[in-house]
Structures are given as structure tokens and as C-alpha cells.
Symmetry: C2
Subunit: 298 residues, 2 copies
DNA sequence: GCGTTTACTGTAAGCGCTTTCAAACCGAAA
DNA sequence: TTTCGGTTTGAAAGCGCTTACAGTAAACGC
């Protein structure tokens, strides 16, 4: 029997099998886009996770193009996958609700469940990571006027990092100063623009906490163009510890976020959800302080 | 009619449709693994390309795990995709031949067609890029003893870069010296190990041409650990111009390879092949010299 | 030896769609 | 009114698989 199968090198037809079993053996990943340093490691983790569990991976970016005719399409759904990994805000709440009502397995990555939905999430310990970082800047490096350059509006990772920042300030009796907050984005350009706006304000700044390393790169650039030395004139720290960070000039103090592990873990939860219907409601992966020269450390 | 469809929010079942039409509306991407800085931009290009053309993207890594039970599986094939994008050597020649005989649309990325098969390929102008780079090192910077740190055995990108290197030497009457060749790999670790082996030989070296930027990073590290200054004691150049390169210390002289464009172009060729059965046999995307401080330029 | 359970094999239905083909329909020309 | 071309509509077949079920054979206990 198997010999015959081998001889004819037969392989079953996934579409037919999918039709009959009503399972696709495929997991879907929904992203807004694939840009920035973040996605390489994340994809690596996700791909590894799906493969280890014998699933295929279908990727879809929901980002619209300039002048595209097609309306918002939810290309990935119960029809072509057994479960969905949803990154941040790549799927709107209505679709999330629909999938939830349909009891379709979904795991959220770096985004929490909309109220009432109880969808499992995987993210980092953003708050405590930021807390450790700012504690260090205050206690060890002696900075008091620390600016926060936030990520994109509505990004939860950025929100919790800001909460950690505020908590650290409060714990050391430093009043929160709104003029030290500037919105940025999770990329180099926005980081650079953000720091320029910050400098125009002419408030004293000891250190800048960029919401992620990508934007910290822009901050370094912006400061260099403004003729300021890092860390002598102003210290810079980021979050994520992407591969570039240790190669920057100066090497960037940051918080290491296990990006790849988060991807793998999200798949693990999703596979559990698909197979046994259970998953942990919230998984927060630990972060770790990484001290380099950009904060003034030797 | 459409109102009813809207009202019931009906959406067709891809598996059933696939069964009936014998088309999947999906393109497959076969990789060995997703590591290194190269894959981010490449995936970005490929994803954009597939989406613009209304196809889905299925990704599969053929890399084996330690002690995995499953034999070499060709998860992606005529059953679940309308065409395949094959990156370098992620698929063996036998499978390539089988797909070719079955007239299944395949486009190769950074790898040329096995003899007799005539499968379309998309790659960079590696040879002329390397030629420009080495010409510059010889003519402008005056180096004569330039080492080449090759990529992984059998990698065509590396092969053609070496050919460009040799051509440049020959054109300037510099004899090819095998002791200046060292094998490395397309990653940091291998680059570092390669440069250490090179230094142990105690041949005079003016400059090191690493086959890609990832390994050039390892070279920089290796030289730093050996107490050598770049570019004062020894110059270093790479190939690809990945995002890190300009942030390195010193910033890396390299050749810009349009990684993302190559991905997008490969999809374009594949879509043509799927839709009209035609594609260009070979597309080589132009590369561009990027001069930074690591080669001794100010 | 017979009735009963267990195992195995084969058959048919059906998954949700496309596609083909035939039948029905409609308007225009004879 | 009849006839013909063209269009619309409906029904049926089939894509390649799974699965449930019936049917047959084999094994078992009394």
C-alpha cells in the first residue's frame, strides 16, 4: 500500500481534504504591513511555531494602497485557516467581534482583547520593563528631566511603556511634566521629527526615552543634526533591543523584548486554542534591561 | 442579488472554489529559513507584490529541525498554490525538475535555473556591483591586497561577487592570490570566524571584501577584537547595504542591492507566468556603489 | 456448531463551489 | 402568428477527499 503511494508519488489534495474535513491545517497571520525591524524576528518566531506544530502559514497585510479600488477585505478567515494571529490593530473591532461570535480561534499579538470578548493575548512586560529602565536612569545616572517620545497613537505597547515611565517618576517623587511628552511613531522618521519638536520647546531635557529602538535611531540622528552629543549633552534610551541597537553610535541602552519568542508563544496559544479550545488569557513575556553607552554608562 | 449577498454577509469558500476551479489564487514562497537581515525587505517586496496582484501568500521554510521525524516534505506544490517562488537552494533539483515537467509556474530568486530547465530567475547584478566596488578600492583608495570572504558554499550571489572581484583584480593587473580567499557565510558569526582564520595566515591584507553586509559586521567585530582599526589598519567593505550598514562603526562601504524590489519583481514574473505563461528568463536588478568610511573614504 | 461480537472492506453521500448543458424564455424579424 | 437568434435560468455533474454506514469476513465464547 505505502509502496504504491510512494511509487505513484501521490499526495493528497489539500483543497479537497479541507472541503471534506472542514479544517485547513493552516494558521493565518494578519498584519497591517511588514515594515520596520520588528517583523523579521517576529515572523521568524511565528513561522517556526507554525511549522513545529504542523501547520502552514498564510500571511495577509491589511494595509490599503493609495487609491486601491477594493474595499477593506478580510482575506483571512474561518474559510482558509483554522485560527488567526492578529497583530495590533490590523483587524478592526467589528471583525474581531464577528470572529469571536463565530467561535473562531484568534490570538492577539501586542494588543489586548476588546472589552467583553476575552480573546487571548500575547505581549511583553512593557510596563515593568520601562519601569526598570527609568528607575535606572534616575537612580544610577541621576537624570530627573526625562522626556518620553511615544509610539503611534493607540499602540498598547507604547501606552504601557508610558505607564512604566510615569510609575518610575512617581516612585522617585518627580512630578510628571506634560511638556516632556512628545508623540512619535515606531519608526526612524517619526522619531527624528519628534525629537526636533521636543528641542524646539526649549525645556531642559536630561534624557530621552524613545518608545522603541526604531524611533530611538531617529532620535540619535535628530540630536546629531542639532549638534548635541549623546550621551554627554543628552542621554537616549529605547525599547526592544533590535539587532541594530548595539551597533549604533553610541550603542543604545534599551530594554530587550523577546520578539521572536512572543511570536512563537502566540502560535503556541493559538494551536492550543485550535486543538483543545483552551489558551491562557494573557501571556506577558519578561523584558530585560540592556545598558549600553547611550545612557551615559561607560 | 448583491444586496442579499451583503445582507447575509456571504463569502465564498476558497477550498470549494479551489477544488472546482483547480486554482488556488495563492502563491507559495519556499525558503530555507528566515534569518538574517535579508529577509525583512525581501518579504516586504514579495508580500506587496502578491497583494497588488490579488494573490495570497503561503510561506514555507524547508529547514530541518534537530531530530525531526518528518522526511523532506514539499509542503508547497501545485496543490496549494498557483505558482512557487523558490529562494536560492530551498528546493532541491529533483523537485524543481518535477515541477518543471508538470509545467508548474516557478520563479527562482537568487539562484539560476538548473541546466536544461529554463526556469525564470530574478537576482542582482552581483558581478558588476562587485566589480565597481573593487575597482574603486584599487583605483581610488589604492589597495592592492584585497581579501575576499566568500558566502556559503554554492551560493550564486557569492559566486558572482567573487567573479566581479577577480575581474577587477585582473583588469588592474593584480594577480589573484588564493591565500586572500576565505570561506565564510552570510551571517555575523561566520564572518567573524572567517576573518580570524584570515588573520592567522599572516598574509598582508589592505582590505577585506565580505560577501554580504551581515558577514561584514562579523568582520568588523573580529578585527576590533584583534586590535585592528578600521579603516586605518585595514579597510572593510560588504555587499547589500542592509539597514544596519550605515549605522555601523565605522559606517560600512557596500553595494546597494535592491532586495525589496527583487522580491516584488520575482512576484511580477511569477504572476505573468501564471496568467499568461510567459516570463523573462533572467532579470538582474542593478546595484549601486555606496561609499562610507569603512573603506578609508573620509 | 451456532449466535454473537469484533474487524475489516467497500460503497455512497456530501463538503461548497464552478461549469457545462439543456431547457425555457424573450424579442424581433418573417 | 410563427420562427429564429440570442440570452437567461436551472439542474446536474464533478472537483478529490473524508466519513459514516452497510456488508462481509473473521474471531470468539458457550
Amino acid at each position: 500500500m505505502w509502496a504504491v503511494i510512494e511509487a505513484l508519488n501521490y499526495s493528497p489534495h489539500p483543497a479537497a481534504r479541507g472541503l471534506a474535513t472542514r479544517r485547513t491545517n493552516t494558521l493565518g497571520l494578519v498584519l497591517r504591513d511588514i515594515s520596520g525591524e520588528f517583523f523579521g524576528p517576529m515572523l521568524r518566531g511565528i513561522e517556526a511555531g507554525t511549522r513545529e506544530n504542523g501547520f502552514d502559514l498564510l500571511i495577509h497585510c491589511t494595509n490599503r494602497f493609495e487609491g486601491d479600488a477594493t474595499p477593506a477585505q478580510y482575506a483571512l478567515s474561518e474559510h482558509n485557516s483554522d485560527g488567526l494571529l492578529v497583530f495590533t490593530d490590523s483587524l478592526d473591532e467589528a471583525e474581531l467581534r464577528r470572529l469571536y461570535r463565530a467561535q473562531f480561534p484568534v490570538v492577539l499579538l501586542h494588543r489586548s482583547s476588546p472589552p467583553g470578548l476575552n480573546i487571548p493575548c500575547v505581549s511583553f512586560e512593557n510596563k515593568s520593563g520601562a519601569r526598570k529602565l527609568i528607575d535606572y536612569l534616575i537612580e544610577v545616572r541621576g537624570y530627573r528631566r526625562i522626556a518620553f517620545l511615544a509610539g503611534p497613537e493607540g499602540t498598547e505597547d507604547s501606552y504601557w511603556r508610558e505607564m512604566g515611565y510615569r510609575e518610575a517618576l512617581a516612585a522617585h517623587g518627580i512630578a510628571f511634566d506634560p511638556t516632556l511628552i512628545e508623540v512619535g511613531g515606531f519608526d526612524e522618521i517619526q522619531g527624528k521629527m519628534g525629537v526636533k519638536r521636543l528641542l524646539e520647546r526649549e525645556t531642559a531635557v536630561d534624557a530621552i526615552f524613545a518608545a522603541d529602538d526604531d524611533s530611538a535611531i531617529g532620535v540619535l540622528e535628530g540630536l546629531r543634526e542639532a549638534g548635541l552629543r549623546v550621551p554627554e549633552d543628552i542621554a537616549v534610551v529605547g525599547f526592544d533591543d533590535i539587532r541594530l541597537s548595539k551597533h549604533l553610535t553610541p550603542p543604545l541602552t534599551t530594554v530587550r523584548a523577546p520578539i521572536e519568542t512572543a511570536g512563537r508563544e502566540a502560535v503556541r496559544q493559538l494551536v492550543n486554542l485550535v486543538r483543545s479550545g483552551t489558551a491562557e488569557r494573557l501571556v506577558l513575556l519578561p523584558t530585560e534591561l540592556v545598558i549600553r553607552h547611550s545612557c551615559g554608562a561607560p
